[in-house]
Amino acid sequence: MRRIGFTTVIAVIGFVFLYAPILSLVIYSFNASRLVTVWGGFSTRWYGELLRDPQILRAAWISLQIAVATATIAVVLGTLAAFVLMRFGRFRSRALLSGMVTAPLVMPEVITGLSLLLLFVSMEQIIGWPAGRGLTTVIIAHVTFAMAYVAVVVQSRLAGTDTSLEEAAMDLGARPVRVFFDITLPVIAPALVAGWLLAFTLSLDDLVIASFVTGPGASTLPMVIFSKVRLGVSPEVNALATIVIAIVALGIGIAGWQMRRRKDG
């Protein structure tokens, strides 16, 4: 018993550490009182106020549009990058591409945000595009870092798959484009779904980069939440957080159940 003792204890403490703040937030989202100290009884009042707040609803709609566009473009570009790196062997710009695909993963967000904003401003001065900042500039910025995550996910899937099917198809005379769409794509489809969801989440979650590159009238949901949170306790945000956690837990639960069913079946 002593042998498993230490790591198990640390692991339990670790999981409590991971979940205690989230749990406390969920509980207080049902608090009728505005004050955190006072338990005013169970209430869903803040959920109602959340759904009637026009500023939050508008920002949520903007964020959703950005996230869907980002995820879709990032999956295309990230998959291309991963495919090129895994299946094209050696080419001249390989080291450059590989470096640029991994660097955004660790680059501090303030640097990415500032550098893209300065780029957009300079481009506007020189070629007149993008005219002003808003949805388009946020989407471009999000695609740039999200495609790196997609590339990592797709790369690991490509590394785990056998190339013999692709080679057999080519030996039988199939054109490379056809091989890609008929063989490679179905094989890596789960990674594309995972990459899309990851890019979607990252985009929906981003505060820092969006704050730099957005323009008037295009405040994203995290920007609105941030300004509310900065002013102090906001029970509406508790309610919003609980909804987000519920959706994510449900999504991951379904994904896990699907995976297990596929393994069993």
């Binding site: 692991a11 955190v36 695909v101 640097i111 500032l114």
Partner: protein, 301 residues
């Protein structure tokens, strides 16, 4: 045979497929850094955009107006150097603390039986899918003087009056460890789960104590995971903005927060760009270190 697919694509098609992601990243990832470097050398103006052009053409001559004042300013004002040093220090401590917590967790997960292992792994990943901002906000509610932790400690009688936990450097450290812990656990888990258990048994059979086996067998074999996890926490933590802004006090000066304030509050774009360049140096050096170390570990295998 790997090149077979590419060879058949023919040079034109192959080049085009490479060009699309390459072009996007060149324009939107690499070129922006050159723009930042350029603007960090220009003079601040009250204009739209608020910086002076670097080159001027007066009809006869092209004048290059390089201005190193922004960097001199960073060097002279102790605020920037302090923020710089403090960011690196706190990122280092946070990465080390996450390693101390994350290693046993990754080990426990990797060694648990199958259905439980997947569930535990999902429990590690799940917070990562929920909003970063909302989790920082959760810690705010958790730590404030009227919050859950203080309430609990007073209720149990351990303390009489609330302790100031929010708006301290400790809260920032706690926040960084909390937010980046999954980035530590996942590479460690991937490494530990591949560990050959017969090596540990052999070491024990030969009479080594558990602690010796750990230090001389387990630790060296999981070094790649440790390095990867450490860097995944350390590098982004240096430039963290949200955590020090929401959990730290007004005197918690981290370099990411300084950059944000120069840009949004002072509207001094050239100084913000100079801060970004300085931060980039602090980030690129560990990235390079991680790459060479990774290559050396691969080669030593």
């Amino acid at each position: 045979m790997k090149g077979g697919l590419a060879r058949r694509l023919g040079l034109g098609g192959r080049g085009a497929v490479i060009a699309v992601p390459l072009f996007w990243l060149l324009v939107f990832f690499l070129v922006p850094f050159l723009v930042v470097a350029k603007i960090s050398l220009s003079e601040a103006l009250i204009a739209q955009p608020p910086f002076a052009p670097l080159a001027e053409w007066d009809g006869l001559r092209l004048m290059l107006l390089l201005n190193f004042e922004n960097f001199a300013y960073l060097w002279q004002d102790p605020l920037y150097l302090r923020a710089y040093g403090f960011s690196i220090l706190i990122a280092f401590i946070a990465a080390f603390a996450s390693l101390l917590i994350g290693y046993p967790m990754a080990y426990a997960i990797a060694r648990s039986p199958e259905p439980r292992r997947t569930i535990l792994l999902m429990l590690v990943i799940l917070p990562f899918w929920t909003s970063f901002l909302l989790r920082v906000y959760a810690w705010q509610g958790f730590l404030r003087s009227t919050g859950t932790v203080n309430g609990f400690l007073i209720w149990t009688g351990i303390i009489d009056a609330p302790i100031q936990m929010l708006q301290t450097n400790f809260a920032v450290l706690l926040g960084i460890v909390y937010m980046y812990l999954p980035f530590m656990i996942l590479p460690l888990y991937a490494n530990i789960v591949k560990l050959d258990e017969s090596l540990l048994e052999a070491s024990a059979d030969l009479g080594a104590r558990a602690s010796v086996t750990f230090l001389r067998v387990t630790l060296p074999l999981t070094l790649p995971g440790i390095v990867a996890g450490f860097m995944l926490v350390f590098i982004p933590a240096i430039g963290e903005f949200v955590i020090p802004e929401l959990l730290g006090g007004p005197d918690t000066l981290m370099i990411g927060r300084v950059l944000w304030n120069e840009f949004f509050a002072n509207r001094d774009w050239p100084v913000a760009a100079a801060v970004a360049i300085a931060m980039l140096v602090a980030v690129v050096v560990p990235i390079m270190f991680m790459r060479t170390l990774g290559e050396r570990l691969e080669a030593g295998r």
